[in-house]
């Protein structure tokens, strides 16, 4: 999966949780989930579950702590898929 495909998959997953449509439309690798997309911090665990389902991976608590930006999420997903 190339970078663009990965970002598209990720956008699909986080879409239901975002509270700032403009920031979502202009999403880049640096976009922050809570600060920019205004995602409720409680929903981060739901995003983790959805990511696990989508990519058939398992994300541990410490990895989850780094999942605060689009780039952070992409790194974890790439890492986990590579380790499979």
């Amino acid at each position: 999966m190339n970078k663009t495909e990965l970002i598209d998959s990720l956008k699909e997953i986080i879409k239901p949780y975002i509270q700032d449509e403009a920031a979502f439309q202009n999403l880049t690798e640096d976009t922050k989930f809570i600060d920019d997309l205004k995602i409720n911090s409680a929903n981060l665990v739901d995003i983790v579950l959805d990511v696990e389902d989508k990519f058939d991976i398992h994300i541990e608590d410490d990895a989850m702590e780094n999942m605060l930006t689009v780039k952070g999420a992409m790194d974890i997903i790439t890492d986990k898929i590579g380790a499979k």
């Binding site: 239901p16 949780y17 409680a42 929903n43 981060l44 665990v45 739901d46 983790v48 579950l49």
Partner: protein, 422 residues
Amino acid sequence: MSKRVVITGLGVAAPNGVGLADFEAAIKAGKSGIRHFEELKNMNFSCCIGGIPEVSDELKLKYLTPLQLRNFTSSGILYACMSGIDAWHDAGLSFAEDEPHWDSGCIFGTGISGVEKMREATYKLDEGKVKRLGSTSVAQTMSSGVSAYLGGIIGLGNQVTTNSSACATGTEAILLAYERIRAGLATRMIAGSSGEHGPYIWGGFDAMRVMTYKHNNSPTEGSRPLSSTASGFVPGSGGGALVLESLESALERGAPVYAEVLGGAVNSGGQRLGGTMTAPNSTAVQRCIKSAVENANIQADDIDLINGHLTATIKDPVEIENWSVALGRKGEDFPYIHSLKSMIGHCLSGAGAIESVAAVLGLKNEFIFPNTNCDDLHPEISSLIAPEKVPTKLIETKEVNVVAKASFGFGDVNACVIFKKF
């Protein structure tokens, strides 16, 4: 001086009508909301009928966002939001922007929240998948989920809490909200209650053999309060809400008033003198009714209509006797009495609020909804009160000024509220 308290908004999601207009039309017409459910039959329930409000996915989106509805299975919270938001808008009020409505709160009761969610969570937990529970397991299963969702959507900044007293919950919520406004601690409160639907709520009652098993093929005739052929209650579900407000606030903002809450009483039989976990102590019921009359500062003779608890178990004649003794009225002198449960079943923790919405609508719009399934009045009841006091047809009348609404619940708890035409 204590504040006078009036009702300025109503909302309801009931098995025979969702939304005020449909509900009012249904209760006037004696429309049943009781249906047969194959799911209950397949799960070996004795009673395979029940009442569930008909709510489309499209309608849900009028109250909750797609995000809130993600993995959302708590029907009691849904009914709380639907009835509470409707009542709020009906009172001419809007959601808070940034600043909460500091003087408005809610006391919204339930017996239990999110049993479906809890079941789902239990399976995951037992499989060792605790992290798969997601973010809303707590919010959907905490008892106060009903008031928490509602308070957050509207932006309530006064007390936001949930009371729980089994089938007396809704009536008790109204009295708790009334007391708070009366004491000057809040300007307006949403008072209400809801009850969830489905086998995981109703199963325990089926096991107790308190629900009827005789009407699986005739669901609309199953709930028979006051009837000689009453054979147990029919389970229902839904939610009801009333916006209670200080009279001065209602007048100040020119809000139309449905009725005044004159007062009421709650008590318990202490599971003594014949009272148990599941059966009411008659002495306590009578004391509750008498205290309510006293607290409302009226005479027993002022009551024109009783909106009873009357569940369609063998205890209905005992309830009539308790009203008769407490009010000192019998025969022709007894007030009119009816039970909404004949149409919607027993909505459990939601019952008190849904039935109070019906009581207040009747007061305001001058009608007495009919008792259905009651053409064969129980002989023990007709020996106490004149049969015409149990109307089986709609009565349109301007003569009803004061309504007493009571609810009694497991734990031997009682609540009685008095509404007056405004």
